[in-house]
């Protein structure tokens, strides 16, 4: 499942926030390699730097020191607007909330990201329908976010993240606002996509039930990697659904 060249390389990442009077050291020399197809959870107590690390890997924030290489390309020095384009074409995002545009339906939300990439109308709607089917929302194509449950919204967000055919998907606490059944459901879908499509997922969580599902768990404590381990965890046999 792993290729030789890592998909993501974080090299000696430091992050210090200087906004307040006392500088906060959020990440202290973090280095990791993540390979294509990995299903990685970043775990750790609140304030340990999970979000900070994901933001830096995702090109939403700049490291104070260190480098991020994505597919060998150093993104540390890209300008803000180059980073926006880079994110659009290479990274899928699932946030804890505010993932969707409230005035657009599920299918429109997914098409929108492809529109930004310049995909043709016919391809957009075809792929959007396939993706919504894949996340089990084939009957909610034209529902607006406020007509969907929290779990359904997060599934649309996963479909949206996949729509742009990104190199990997970052999900910062994707289940934090979900009840445990919806959380499990979302994880099932993410896992299926990972196994069927080799989609690389990196997600953060402090929910033990969720972290158990990961293939690799990176423990952060006070901005340091305390433990980085592969498990053969309780990976469920996926109920097969065909994906685009």
């Amino acid at each position: 499942m792993k290729t030789d060249q890592p998909l993501i390389q974080a090299l000696g990442i430091h992050k210090t926030y200087n906004h307040s009077h006392v500088p906060v050291q959020a990440l202290d020399d973090v280095s990791i390699d993540i390979h294509k197809g990995e299903f990685t959870a970043i775990v750790g107590p609140s304030g340990s730097g999970k979000s900070t690390l994901l933001n830096i890997i995702g090109g939403l924030d700049h490291a104070s020191r260190g480098k991020i290489l994505i597919g060998g390309q150093d993104i540390s020095n890209l300008s803000d607007s180059d980073l926006i384009d880079f994110r659009k074409n290479n990274i899928g995002f699932v946030f804890q909330s505010f993932n969707l545009i409230p005035v657009l339906t599920a299918i429109e939300n997914i098409e929108f990201i492809m529109l930004l990439q310049g995909t043709s109308k016919a391809k957009r709607s075809k792929r959007a329908i396939e993706l919504l089917n894949a996340v089990g929302l084939g009957d909610k194509l034209h529902s607006r976010p406020n007509q969907l449950s929290g779990g359904q919204q997060q599934r649309v967000a996963v479909a949206r993240a996949l729509a742009s055919k990104p190199a990997f998907i970052l999900a910062d606490e994707p289940t934090a606002s979900l009840d445990s059944q919806s959380a499990n459901n979302l994880l099932d879908i993410m896992q299926e996509l990972n196994q069927l499509e080799q989609t690389t997922f990196i997600f953060s969580t402090h929910d033990p039930r969720v972290m158990d599902r990961a293939e690799r768990i990176i423990h952060l404590v006070d901005g340091n990697i305390e433990k980085d381990s592969y498990t053969n965890g309780n990976i469920k046999q996926p109920t097969l659904k065909q994906l685009p």
Binding site: G58, K88, F98, N99, F112
Partner: protein
């Protein structure tokens, strides 16, 4: 899709949007109606002035232009020939103009006697329709005159009264003639025409020693105001020794009135636009700050700043111009209604008549002004969009996503 998003966003908070839209509808409606009123007022004034005083073009000798001396006349025949050849001329009236001292049994007053051809004059200045007492000229009386009610009142004369006129003839000698009032005219006061006395041109020619062909003034009405400047040019080239003036040059007050509409419009537009700018910015800022997270998310997932900026600008323009057609429709309907039945201004009739205006107003508005109003609203929206849109592109996506 940007358009779709922008449009739907307007209706996310319908009440707030409707308040702004209603404000724009009312503003546009009021602008159109007020401008229609002043435009109608000015137009009434101008067409009054053209038919009563100036016609479209007047031809004088150069010296007469300077000193109004009766002796400065010219041969009217070549000019009439030229006018007869043009198909753009509606009508014309040759005139002799004499400044006279008028004596009645109880009063003396300076006035202007204008010698006219009764038919030609009526086609330029419809004086016959203004006769309130008496009748128009016929051949039964020697030296008949029509005077304004105002003049009759001032001189304490009535229909059929006799008036003695003292004036210079062409050679500079003083002559006296006995005129008889055969009719009274109801003319607007305040612009000088109430001091005019009309009499047949033949009688006045014989009194002043004018040749049959000689005139002081030729008043010309064109078929359309469009033709005026070009025809004025042609006349000037053909008759270099004569002074050819259009109505704006003859009566600068007309031009001033025209300028005044645009000035009034400009002032009102500027005030309206200023109020509108603040209204739009306020509404849009609220709308945008409310969506801080969502907009930050869009930037996070790869919507670039240009597109975000465009989306907010589009939204601002939409919210600003939905009200525009409604306002225009309401405004033009109001104008149309009053155009049909006229707006009665009885309460101010006296004051308006003093200024040579009629007391029934027919509002109207040119398409240009509708256009100016529409474009102004559009530009205002564009300008007002810049500030909220700039705010949006400066959002930091991480803050926006983390803020719960």
């Amino acid at each position: 899709m940007l358009i779709k998003i922008a449009w739907r966003n307007i209706w996310r908070n319908p009440l707030r949007s409707l308040v702004l839209i209603a404000a724009i509808v009312i503003g546009v409606w009021a602008l159109i109606f007020i401008n229609g009123l002043s435009s109608g007022m000015v137009d009434g004034y101008i067409s009054n002035a053209i038919s009563n005083r100036t016609a479209h073009i007047q031809v004088h000798s150069l010296q007469f232009e300077r000193d109004n001396e009766i002796s400065h006349c010219y041969n009217g025949i070549p000019v009439e020939d030229f006018l007869n050849q043009s198909n753009k001329v509606q009508s014309y009236s040759p005139r002799i103009i004499v400044n006279s001292m008028m004596l009645a049994s109880q009063s003396t007053l300076g006035a202007t006697i204008i010698g006219i051809d009764s038919i030609a004059e009526d086609s330029v200045n419809p004086y016959k329709s203004k006769i309130t007492e008496g009748k128009s000229f016929d051949s039964s009386i020697k030296y008949p005159i029509l005077i304004s009610e105002y003049l009759a009142d001032k001189m304490k004369v009535k229909l059929h009264s006799k008036l003695i006129g003292n004036f210079q003839n062409k050679d500079g000698d003083i002559v006296a003639a006995k005129f008889r009032v055969i009719g009274l005219l109801n003319v607007a006061k305040g612009d000088g025409q109430e001091m005019n006395i009309l009499t047949p041109i033949d009688g006045l020619r014989s009194l002043t020693g004018f040749e049959d062909t000689e005139v002081n003034e030729m008043a010309i009405l064109m078929k359309d105001v469009e033709f005026i400047s070009e025809f004025q040019q042609q006349l000037s080239e053909r008759f270099t020794s004569l002074s050819i003036k259009n109505y704006k040059e003859i009566a600068p007050d007309i031009n001033l009135m025209g300028i005044q509409i645009y000035l009034g419009l400009t002032v009102m537009l500027v005030i309206f636009m200023m109020a509108l700018i603040f209204g739009i910015i306020n509404t849009m800022l609220m709308a945008v700050l409310e969506r801080y997270n969502e907009l930050g998310m869009l930037m996070a997932v790869g919507m670039n700043k240009t597109k975000l900026f465009l989306m907010i600008v589009l939204e601002t323009i939409f919210i600003s111009i939905v009200g525009l057609p409604i306002g225009i429709l309401m405004g033009s309907t109001t104008i149309y209604i009053y155009q049909q039945k006229g707006l009665q201004l009885d309460r101010w009739a006296k004051g308006l008549e003093e200024f040579g205006m009629t007391s029934v107003l027919y509002p109207q508005l040119s398409l240009t002004i509708y256009g100016i109003i529409a474009v102004s609203v559009f530009i205002t929206a564009l300008v007002a969009a810049l500030y909220p849109a700039r705010k949006v592109i400066n959002i930091n996506p991480i803050d926006a996503i983390n803020k719960l």
